[in-house]
Amino acid sequence: MADAISLERLSFRYPGSSKAALDEVSFLVPEGSVCAVLGPSQAGKTTLLYALAGVLGSRFANAKVAGGLSVHDEYFDGVPRSILFPRVSLVLQESRIQITGFRSTVREELAFTLQNLQIAEPESAERIRDAAEALAISRLLDRNPLELSGGELHRVAIATVLVARPQVLLLDEPARSLDSNSVFQLSRALNSLRKSQTTLFTDADLELPLQLADQYIVLNRGKVLFTGNRGEFINSLNHFVGLLPVDDWLEITGHLRRNPAIRQTIDPRIRRFLP
């Protein structure tokens, strides 16, 4: 399988800062995979997404950059100098910001992206329908986006870029401030998109990553501490005490090792993510 994203010793330092926000970051993300970028606050997760989307290059022309990255075989020396939309689409951390605020229905909000791409009817309607079905927001299409719940708004925010049919979808902490049920719905929706594009999302928690991701990257202070698949990640959880909220998972896996019978007492939704 070809790599959708490849980073080669990418370093980035914000203008005026003495510390590198990304420090020789290297990893590969295979095409069609769902990759979770984990780490505590200030680890460089958002900077990494901004680098991939072209935000860093377009905003900070004087920043210190080294290394390079590739997105679907297109190589960039340093970081892309312009926004890569629609090939690479980024959903910001706060879904309220992603919504324009001047479209009165979700349908119009999604159509706004397509107008920017000069995609007219009937393709526009088809793309809106597909994105709405994939993210389970069809019933919300005629509602005002500003009147939706946090979980619903988040899925609408993802749909606003999904209609552009990106090759790479970047999500900045999509599970942040969502309740467990909303995280589960989001996970189910993102899982249904698995085949159509490569997804890379950041998180400081483990709930969504363990439900959804098949590739894991752990960052701390701009450096990559770990890259690997689900099995490798779960087996290495004890290395991330203090960086990630792994205590509950370590406790569960510890109990399982000591007494495999308790596996049956665990909620089936969680059970399927256990080693």
């Binding site: 377009s58 926004i83 980024l90 992603q98 605020g101 001047f102 107008q115 920017n116 000069q118």
Partner: protein, 257 residues
């Protein structure tokens, strides 16, 4: 398609009407501006061109006008008190109010009130999405439209932000809504964080629009209407002619004085 053309034409008509009112506000004496203000209030409820686009827009318009009305009254009172010109028109608790100051306050206050009411009518009757389409359609670059929209969005959401901050302060036991002075005191403290957070949000919002391709100069308006209609309707032409006539008349009066 014809609905959208009508919508674009309507916004053009509204803008021309607002331009006429702005000209009147600056040219007319306070008595005439008082009539213009009352006429605007009547037209806002009776004319299909100027009616609010939603119940929420109507409510916001009424609040907006109420604030400016209060401001006008305050301006009249302060000027009548401080500008000691002309005869004394009233004495309140031993304090004299002067006619010259009151007229100056009325002239300035009513001018402001008419301008605010006209702008309130424009934005109350035109949803931001339609206004954005109109601006794009008349050939404004998308970066200018974006700047305008972000500013308008900021103004539109400002009351909500302030209310949210007030509620948060109330939850901490600050008596923010107890009286006008308490409101003013709290507001002055919160003004800077409010402005800063709004600026930061505007930057983020601008970035999010850019991330959805809004900067593309070749973007299409709703249902692909770019450049379809750039002509002026009869109603717009009438308003613009009337505005020109008012300016000409004022200039003529000024020259003959």
């Amino acid at each position: 398609m014809s609905n959208l053309l009508n919508q674009i034409q309507l916004i053009g008509d509204r803008l021309s009407f607002v331009l006429l009112v702005v000209v009147c506000a600056f040219v007319f004496p306070w008595e005439a501006n008082l009539c213009v203000f009352l006429l605007l209030l009547i037209l806002q409820t009776t004319s299909s061109l100027l009616r609010p686009s939603s119940a929420k827009a109507g409510l916001l318009f009424r609040r907006f006008v109420r604030y400016f009305l209060l401001l006008t009254l305050l301006m009249v009172a302060v000027n009548a008190l401080l500008l000691r010109e002309g005869k004394i028109i009233a004495e309140v608790f031993g304090v004299s109010l002067f006619q010259g100051g009151a007229i100056f306050g009325l002239t300035t206050g009513l001018r402001l009130l008419v301008l605010a009411t006209a702008l309130g009518i424009l934005f109350g009757s035109t949803p931001l999405a339609e206004f954005a389409d109109y601006l794009g359609n008349v050939g404004l670059p998308s970066s200018v439209v974006l700047t305008l929209l972000l500013s308008l969005y900021f103004v539109e959401t400002l009351p909500h932000r302030i209310s949210r901050i007030f509620t948060a302060q109330e939850a901490r036991g600050v008596p923010v809504r107890s009286n006008l002075f308490a409101r003013i005191r709290v507001f002055s403290i919160l003004l800077m964080p409010l402005m800063l957070s709004s600026i930061i949000e505007s930057i983020d919002r601008g970035m999010s629009l850019e991330l959805r391709g809004f900067h593309s100069e070749s973007r299409i308006s709703r249902e692909g209407l770019v450049g379809v209609r750039r002509t002026i309707s009869r109603r717009s032409a009438f308003f613009l002619l009337l505005a020109s006539a008012v300016i000409t008349l004022r200039l003529a009066l000024w020259l003959t004085q």
